[in-house]
Amino acid sequence: MEEEQKEELKRLPRLGEKAPEFDAVTTQGNLKLADFSGSWLILFSHPADFTPVCTTEFIGFAKMFDELQKRNVQLMGLSIDSVYSHISWVRNIEEKFGIKIPFPVIADLNKEVAGKYGMIMPGESKTETSRCVFVIDPEGILRAMIYYPLTTGRNMDEILRLIDALQTTDKHKVATPANWKPGDEVIVPPPPTQEGAEERLKEGFECTDWYFCKKKLKK
């Protein structure tokens, strides 16, 4: 039992580490994680094709696509369905909802990618992937993960906000507070030494205390 648990834990990806490599069949041909090097990648899973919540999510992701492109972010979906099912479903979405799905979708019939990323939650379903989102940076490092249950569609605005926050952190070496959105003040990382704490209050930031300082980013 303990070994089983260890094996399960080993399979889960971790933030700040290299995202697991894959070579997968998709609706846009065979793609490897390395093919996305130099761009951000949102890899997301959905439970199954031709299901209503997933359809609303695919429409949401497609509508967000242009905003993501502006931010050098690529999108890729995944479920445990065949590539023909994916093709049929994305064509159906275009026909019935007038929305073209511009991103590739992995056909993970052997659950290889789902297994590497810990997308299957056996307590929910052993045959479907949960609603997972993995944000991978241009160097292939896993930067954020979101897991939603089968019943709950994801919030596209939150995913875009997360991308904005991560890119702001990388560009300005700052953190972002709760409910942050672009244009809001950012958090200046707390100084790690006593000397730094003494100096922090003289640095011209808007400080409540030495560990809690904010600043406005220049446009």
């Binding site: 846009q28 793609l31 093919d35 996305f36 761009s39």
Partner: protein, 73 residues
């Protein structure tokens, strides 16, 4: 394969890449010339190379005589 059909002929995006690689080009240059996303170009160049339509030399891809021939069809 995204850029090679089951009958072995290049797809429309495959043909664009072969046209772009008539001059030795990096994947980034092919992406810029064809206006195709870089991930798709990397995958497509792999397919086209596997089909013998392209060869790779020092990080640059160049269309082979076989690739030139298929472009004329």
């Amino acid at each position: 394969m995204a850029c090679v059909n089951p009958d072995g002929k290049p797809t429309e995006s495959g043909r664009k890449m072969l046209e772009a690689a008539k001059e030795p080009s990096t994947p980034e240059e092919v992406s810029s010339l064809t206006n195709l996303p870089l991930f798709k170009v990397r995958s497509g160049l792999r397919d086209l190379k596997g089909a013998g339509y392209l060869k790779e030399e020092q990080g640059k891809y160049i269309t082979t005589s076989e690739g030139i021939k298929v472009l004329k069809e």
